[in-house]
Assembly symmetry: none
Homo-oligomer: 226 residues x 2
DNA sequence: CTTGACATAGAACATTTGTTCCGTGTATAA
DNA sequence: TTATACACGGAACAAATGTTCTATGTCAAG
């Protein structure tokens, strides 16, 4: 930066401060902000020097406009943005077949559910692996809190009727007429199934296998906040 | 003009008006000026739509700052997209910058974090909106249970230091030297911030704004079960 | 020494400008 | 129907921010 003849040290500094501030925030500083950055306690002095700078042709002021400063010496500074690299990848469209809540049975996918007429969500393939028999459900209400799943979340399921130990499953408990999402463990010694909430603070429940209807395996949860 | 998915016609026009105005005057327009140029008589409606644009990632607002608007530059990104096929825009690769846990500060993204050397996760674009300043963190431990987020989950964040009411944010609470994920609410009457856990059974905590360091906004959670 | 231009500081003031609050209409779901 | 969420409009409010006014000190010219 050259050619600041006729400017006081203070005015040069003010110009610099205005440039830096504008660069950082995308809009010019206020009189008080300039004062703070340059070390001037009085707004009138800042205004005074801004007028001086204007009359010397270094900037323009717009009267009564907050931040109404325009640097005349606008060197176009091109900011280099670290743009996110966009990569190609495979994806799959998963139909959202309906809702899931504690009190209602899960919708069961059948061949009538074509992708065409259902709402759907697209995810990358690595999210789900093999897309066969995969569908999604939207969570209604907060009855799945124990599974760390909240209203509005989308649960991605694979339709299957068996489960292995440790699988997170969606199950219909017949006695209670309730749907639940829990991890499945077969307690061979006691001939019962232990359903373990994801939340470690919650206690597991034990059900007889005949009282249990496995609806599918949870293979993912997607939560979109806005 | 590409990539205005999810915006109303009014919001698209607002973006255009803000761009043109900033270009012409060197500083952004006020709410009332935007209203005049777009044809909105009420300042609250302009503000309302500015907040919508912010939550969709198109700009940043600085609270209580006159003309406190920063356009997020989608230009560079669009440039990349135009070079490639449209299909590429469906996916975004998000760098996983590190871990998040209650007791450790969050990693802060900077320009050194290139996509090349970080682990990354691919998601569909509709999951995150504008990919600028977006990064991901892997959750370690179960200290985020209150936020319905568990060990191994991946949290997708947008780096920003302000928040609006209702935003789920990642915050560092200085007193307690702890990171937390909660919904942000400014209690204007009490001059404090209420941090509300996602789990409705948990009580909110109240912190003084000076004791709070907003690290970013949570825009998504991804959980992969195997 | 006195005068006047210049530069400054502090405070009061006025305007600009963002925020909040209340009400309306509409579309959708219960 | 009723309830709810969303988008909007208008007005009052509060915070921010620019302007003005008075006063002080310096310095060179008369």
């Amino acid at each position: 930066m050259v050619g600041h003849s006729g400017l006081s040290a203070r005015q040069v500094k003010m110009l610099q401060v205005i440039r830096d501030y504008s660069e950082e925030y995308g809009y010019p500083p206020t009189i008080r902000e300039i004062g703070d950055l340059v070390g001037i306690s009085s707004t009138s002095v800042v205004s005074y020097n801004l007028n001086a700078l204007q009359s010397k042709g270094y900037l323009l002021r717009d009267r009564d406009i907050s931040r109404g400063l325009r640097l005349v010496d606008t060197n176009a500074e091109d900011q280099v943005l670290n743009d996110q690299e966009v990569l190609l990848s495979e994806f799959v469209s998963i139909p959202i077949l309906g809702a899931i809540a504690a009190g209602i049975p899960l919708p069961v996918p059948d061949s009538n559910d074509s992708l065409a007429d259902a709402e759907s969500i697209r995810v990358t393939r690595e999210m789900i692996g093999n897309p066969r028999d995969v569908y999604a459900l939207q969570v209604r209400g907060d009855s799945m809190i124990d599974a760390l799943i909240n209203d509005g979340d989308i649960v991605i399921m694979r339709h299957q009727q068996q489960a292995q130990n440790g699988d997170m499953i969606a199950a219909w408990i017949k006695d209670e007429k309730a749907t639940t999402l829990k991890r499945f463990y077969w307690e061979s010694g006691r001939e019962t199934v232990r359903l373990q909430p994801a939340n470690p603070l919650m206690d597991p429940i034990y059900v007889h296998p005949r009282n249990l209807d496995i609806q599918g395996k949870v293979i993912g949860v997607i939560r979109r906040l806005d």
